[in-house]
């Protein structure tokens, strides 16, 4: 019972946030169809916002793909962690892979036994998928209807969305130090190298900070 409740409340809250993505994508000149395809096919919030954020900042498509993919590597590690518990075969593995995201893993890992973990994963994965896609469409159509994105604050909604995704990850001193250096590096590089490069360059900082324990 409580797995269902957890899954549902996570699904609706996170899903509603899809409207911010849909609106941000359209404000960055993606079409409504492209915004919806990103939610259906890419289906990983931070990576989707990265595609939109890098293109909005004037970056190349290759740059957008690289940034989004690096942000998505954690989904692969989630899969490694959960695959032995989910015991996936054939087409089920394909579907499970697509709904392997922060939220489905988060709810699954909060459960006590394997059976509950499986329920948490599937309920939350499907729930977020449904609501996230519906709200993306709503947000994209809404943004298309209102015209000038700056007049509605959509240009600030994109960095605010990134900050909201970043905030819970700033849990220790090392992360704060890393964040400080990432701001410095990105802003120093911005006037000097092509758009998109300042963002992806910060990967090097993550490697440096993570190298030693």
């Amino acid at each position: 019972m409580s797995v269902k409740r957890d899954s549902f409340s996570v699904s609706i809250t996170v899903g509603a946030y899809g409207s911010a993505f849909g609106a941000a994508a359209v404000a960055a000149d993606f079409s409504v169809l492209q915004a919806c395809l990103l939610s259906l096919l890419l289906f990983s919030g931070a990576s989707q916002f990265a595609v939109v954020g890098v293109i909005a900042a004037g970056g190349t498509p290759l740059n957008a793909i690289a940034t989004s993919t690096l942000l998505g590597t954690r989904n692969g590690l989630y899969g490694l962690r959960l695959a032995p518990i989910l015991k996936l075969r054939g087409w089920k593995r394909v579907i499970a892979a697509q709904i392997t995201i922060d939220e489905s893993i988060g709810v699954a890992l909060a459960q006590k036994d394997d059976a509950q973990m499986r329920k948490g994963f599937w309920y939350t994965g499907f729930g977020v998928f449904i609501f996230w896609n519906l709200f993306t469409l709503a947000g994209a159509l809404g943004a298309q209807a209102i015209g000038d994105p700056s007049a509605w604050g959509l240009d600030a909604a994109v960095p605010a969305a990134f900050l909201g995704l970043l905030w819970p990850r700033l849990s220790d001193r090392k992360s704060w130090v890393l964040a400080g250096f990432a701001i410095l590096l990105a802003l120093i590089l911005t006037p000097n190298v092509p758009a998109g490069i300042p963002i992806i360059s910060c990967t090097a900082l993550a490697v440096i900070i993570g190298w030693r324990k």
Binding site: A46, R74, L80, A160, L166, R169, L170, L178, N192
Partner: protein, 102 residues
């Protein structure tokens, strides 16, 4: 093919590839603690850079405008432990007001 389509299709294909590989390879693979540590730091580095660039970059110039005011509101709301949608809405409303009246 346009910039937008390349970005949409390329990022979607790679995102699924990563998820599928993760669900398919044995767990012992990639369990090196250094790789795991770096992997938890990559989102911090990239998301911070995305926050910074999308707040103050205008093409290759750095500017403080309505977006920065919106972000100040977002920070205040996050410190006050406001939920996610409230943070984004608060930032958008503050930025929209600044855009209108400044």
């Amino acid at each position: 093919m346009s910039t937008f389509w390349i970005a949409v299709i390329g990022s979607s294909a790679l995102a699924f590839a990563i998820k599928f590989v993760g669900a398919s390879v044995p767990e012992t693979f990639l369990s090196n603690p250094r790789i795991l540590r770096i992997n938890t730091f990559i989102p911090v580095a990239l998301l911070t850079a995305l926050v910074a660039v999308n707040t103050v970059a205008d093409k290759s110039k750095l500017v403080l405008d309505n977006r920065a005011l919106g972000m100040s509101a977002a920070i205040v709301l996050l410190i006050a432990k406001a939920p996610f949608p409230v943070v984004v809405l608060g930032a958008a409303m503050t930025s929209a007001l600044a855009y209108r009246y400044l």
